[in-house]
Symmetry: C2
Subunit: 676 residues, 2 copies
């Protein structure tokens, strides 16, 4: 899709996710990631949320729920409660851990959302692999959450502990509606996965309160969330319950955004800001959403907002659809790293401007890569165009997966494309860039976001409508459609085989398989001899009444190849990255020594794939790239350096998502090209 000028006539949703029960991930690569999340990440995060891990920044997440539940109970029983602290702060930590008071809130004021995201990941986990212990743990957490809910449905431990009378007084900054959104996503997921309604009822009670509070009727607040998330959650809640008021509230939140006079000004009695001032673009509230065409501001906010806009477009809102298409193209063509990371600057964790994609100061937050997955997936449901699938795949295998260590115990918040530990330590401009993953963060949004995204991979991989099933990702799945059962198998991301075996088929069926951009149109297909065949927007459509046992066997060409950024990207001028299939590769100091900026790739020679045993990583698919290594003697005087000498060299590259699993050292994705 090439920067579309106008949307196609049809802007109703084209396809929908399959129910969790109708999908089972059998993919070797992803099952291993899911096992890691189930066996390591979730228990580890549970311990962290409970402050049961030594030597790590305490979360206070469960602490806050317990404190809020105790307060709600005390209030109900008419027992005395402590007055709230005088100041309400965005972030509060006890001076010393042992000084934490049992009746106080600690952490960022969106700390509740960590538990909700964890629960959402647990929901998908239980749908995949029932587990009584995990189920009991989750149910107990849900009881605690419900106990912290006020009688009128309000639920936010920060305000419950620090003054309910201040609730909703700062929608721009204070994340209550964001927390509501994650509560709701968790509730819907848990209901879908387990059929249990306890958390769903809790979310609905809160949602009902919001519907009233933010109604268009007299007395209703005209506000909307500073950090989008409630919107997309309300669409999920609507889909799960059929209650039109939830969808209507989502649509109100979207439509109010960016209208003049600005609600955020009125909210704080501020003078109207000048047009274009950061404080609106940061929140994507600089323009009404249907008029937005350029991705701006805080990248995670942007992705969550655009996702909800795509949900809205699915109900036939053509203006919204046009905005979504333009915003997606702006991100994909002008503001996205080769890894699918978005957010070029730490300043506001934000987009900057077109083609500004610095490698070494990138922000590319793990959450933003997840957000891009959500956005792309919703666009695919509107319009099955391979651009969306390619971006979804790119963000998933690179920008998102890099957020987690190979052992599932450490995480990146920021995902640079070039890292020099010396610079991270000494350069204030890179203080947000870590050369190694951290066990946890005070602001711990990313790890559980990664977990919930990985555990839902099946739903991201395919969607369906009537008798058509789209495979957006090439992963191994058992799929149950209304009239057919399918079993896919895949060699991805390490080899290009993808097959769809038709287990049963009771009626004519269309199978739509994305032809990934990375194969350059080079693929073979066997087993589809009897099917009608057409290609549209990067998908191959095969229609037929397939005999049971039919295997459609694709082999996508997956040569390792040099890729280039748009020529307008200054940071990558004269440089190439290396990809093989969906994976971006990188060089690390552990394999190539120091001074990666002095390595040049000879792009006339194809990179050679191989399997290499690497300490702590086992056998890893690596690439060997030929080139030269430059060196120069110390200059005789400042700026009298000789032209560097070049020696032939072979460089080892490994998948980007595996970087920083060995000793700390330099890393580089884009490398200078030697053109011979």
């Amino acid at each position: 899709m090439q920067n579309p000028a106008s949307p196609p006539a049809n802007s109703r949703p084209n396809s929908a996710p399959l129910a969790l029960a109708k999908l089972h991930v059998t993919d070797a690569f992803w099952r291993e990631k899911m096992r890691l999340v189930r066996e390591t990440v979730l228990p580890h995060q549970w311990a962290l949320l409970n402050d049961a891990v030594e030597g790590v920044q305490k979360s206070y997440c469960l602490h806050n729920f317990r404190a809020a539940a105790a307060r709600i109970a005390a209030e109900k029983n008419g027992e005395p409660v402590s007055p709230p602290p005088e100041k309400r702060l965005f972030e509060t930590w006890p001076e010393r851990p042992d000084e934490a008071r049992s009746d106080r809130f600690y952490g960022f004021l969106f700390q509740d959302s960590d538990l909700y995201k964890w629960l959402e990941a647990v929901a998908y986990t239980l749908a995949d692999t029932p587990c009584a212990a995990l189920s009991a743990q989750a149910d107990a957490a849900i009881e605690l959450i419900c106990a912290a809910q006020a009688d009128d449905g309000y639920l936010d431990t920060y305000y419950i502990l620090h003054g309910r009378e201040h609730a909703f007084e700062n929608l721009r900054d204070n994340h209550e509606l964001y927390c509501f959104g994650h509560l709701t996503e968790a509730a819907v997921a848990y209901f879908r996965a387990t059929g249990k309604t306890r958390l769903l009822a809790c979310a609905r009670r809160f949602a009902d309160l919001l519907c009233e509070r933010f109604s268009d009727l007299p007395g209703g607040s005209p506000g909307y969330p500073g950090h989008p998330e409630a919107e997309l959650a309300l669409y999920r809640l609507y889909a799960a319950t059929g209650e039109a008021r939830y969808r209507a509230l989502a649509e109100r939140f979207l439509s109010r955004r960016g209208q003049r006079p600005y609600f955020y000004d009125a909210e704080r009695g501020a003078a109207p800001a000048k047009p274009g001032e950061l404080r609106y673009t940061y929140y994507q509230a600089h323009l009404p959403v249907r008029s937005q065409r350029e991705a701006v501001g805080h990248a995670v906010r942007a992705m969550y907002l655009y996702s909800a806009m795509a949900d809205c477009a699915g109900f036939g809102d053509r203006e919204m659809y046009a905005a979504c298409r333009a915003l997606f193209a702006d991100v994909a063509y002008r503001k996205m790293y080769v890894t699918g990371g978005v957010g070029s600057t730490a300043d506001g964790e934000a987009f900057t401007f077109a083609y500004d994609l610095p490698n070494d100061t990138a922000y590319a937050e793990t959450c933003a890569a997840a957000g891009l997955v959500f956005f792309a997936w919703r666009m695919l449901q509107l319009e099955p165009d391979a651009l969306y699938g390619d971006v979804l795949e790119r963000a998933l295998y690179n920008g998102l997966l890099a957020g987690m260590s190979a052992d599932g115990k450490r995480f990146f918040y920021v995902n640079p494309l070039e890292s020099d530990p010396a610079a991270c330590a000494q350069d204030p401009r890179k203080r947000h860039v870590r050369p190694t993953r951290e066990p946890w963060f005070g602001c711990a949004c990313c790890p559980p976001n990664l977990a919930r995204t990985v555990m839902r991979i099946g739903q991201y991989a395919c969607t369906a409508k009537a008798d058509t099933c789209w495979f957006h990702l090439h992963i191994g799945l058992a799929v149950e459609l209304e009239n057919a059962r399918l079993q896919t198998a895949s060699g991805l991301p390490y080899s290009g085989e993808f097959s769809v075996r038709v287990e049963s088929c009771r009626a004519p069926l269309t199978l739509a398989v994305r032809i990934p951009a990375w194969c350059g149109g080079q693929y073979t297909l066997s087993g589809a001899e009897g099917a009608e065949r057409r290609e549209q927007d990067g998908y191959l459509y095969l229609r037929g009444r397939f005999a049971p046992g039919t295997v459609l066997r694709f082999v996508f060409a997956m040569p390792a190849r040099f890729v280039r950024a748009d020529a307008r990207v200054r940071a990558d001028a004269g440089k190439v990255a290396v990809m093989r299939g969906p994976l971006v590769y990188c060089m690390e100091e552990a394999d190539n020594g120091k001074g990666l900026h002095l390595c040049l790739f000879d792009t006339s020679k194809a990179p050679q794939p191989e399997m290499t045993a690497l300490p702590g990583l086992g056998r890893v698919p690596t690439l060997t790239v030929s080139g030269v290594r430059q060196s120069a003697p110390d200059p005789a005087a400042p700026y009298e350096a000789a032209a560097p000498a070049e020696e032939p060299a072979a460089f080892r590259l490994l998948p980007y998502f595996l970087w920083a699993n060995r000793e700390t050292g330099e890393m580089q994705v884009f490398t200078r090209e030697k053109r011979c």
Copy 2:
């Protein structure tokens, strides 16, 4: 000098500046700059200091002196004075200009120093070109300064207006001793230039107060300045007056710096910081100065400190000398831009770490380039090594001169080596970088610093000792030595001719001329047939009893040439800059269109010098460089860009110090190299 491991045995000063009256600048290039300073910069700055320029950030500098003088007078007369404001702020501005109170201080709390630097520049100007009107203006300003001085010698308008009882309570941050230093430099310069002692007496009274206040005797404060400047000024005051206590105070300030326990902790009752914490390195107070080997922290502070350390080394302090040499080498080889700019980051206006020299986010403050001139010049007096002269020349012709527009009315504070106006406007990491010069700054340290440095060029150009005269810079000068009169003439910076005509010579004389690194050892010399000749440390020494009329005629090869940064500089990997003689050249959008990052230089073809008439700049020496321009069609999909096509192209370069004098556009010093 190649990163010396140990200093030579002799660490006594080798040479000294010539008196202002013994020097007259006749150089075509520099006289024009001096004329600009005299006729435009100084009157313009005077108007700015007096808040007489519309549409520009008000300075309040003279306002503050008038307010302080009124208060001192009122106190003497026992009249009531207004109480100081409750809060003492680093920077105070009236809400609206018409709300400025006549008895209040406004601006940064070092605002006084702007007037002092202006006066210092005026002093050199009057020494060069007597002018009754300017002299009267300066004398009136001096009267005002003296009127603002308290009875005990204290002089700082901020504290006089906002509470004398708080004087010296925050040496780390509050710049009183910095202002004292600039007062003293101005006083010494004005005395040297005019023989008038009014301001010198004022500075001495303040210095005497400081000698007592900061004595080592019981009751003395153990403090030292947060922003070095007083130290080098005290050495100048000592040289002008012969009073040993001034030198002793300078040495005390230096020796106290970085000693444990840290004075700055005691000063504010803070817990001792961890070693290496920014708050010490920023002030170069992380280690005792004699133990320092790496340039760190705020670049201007560093340069002023190291200058004073070199002054101290001149009295035979060998440890100090070893530190100075190591620090200079660290700056010159590892932390200096090709322009002589220093300070790689806006964060703290500071040095970062070795070889970290980003082009587009450089700080390279104009004041820091001036500071490097001061440091290099003092090192030259200790040890005539061409390294120091080369650096002095580099910083002067490039990093410093770029600070001023061709019309003398606009200034750069920050001097980037690459500028994209779109990025400056939209990228928060580049918010310190301006694509055009500004008429003035709230923090206006740079413009008067540039003025005083330009007006003192004669003294920077040569120093002497006994019967030897060193020419560090190749500029036209009339020089009067004890036993000889010389007249030099120069084609620099545009051609390599430099001649020394001996007007008279009453005794054997040694003339030492720096052989600039940029000539690569290629030069011719005529007229020195009868002289003894030796080359040492990059200086050619010619000794003889020269007949009047003798002309020593040097022609230094000055081909335009490609230069390279040290291979360890990541930002410049694969790139070259272009120099001709001492001048760094750059490309501008006005000559070369947009997208300078897509230009590559063919370094196998020599750049061609020519004269080009440019709008607003007249005839300018430019260079034409051959190369290619890359272009690429819009990629079909993200990161599927084709290898860029290359078209032969010729690029026009102009001297870096002349950039940003035409329409706003891109600028680039380092350009990718096409190696054929």
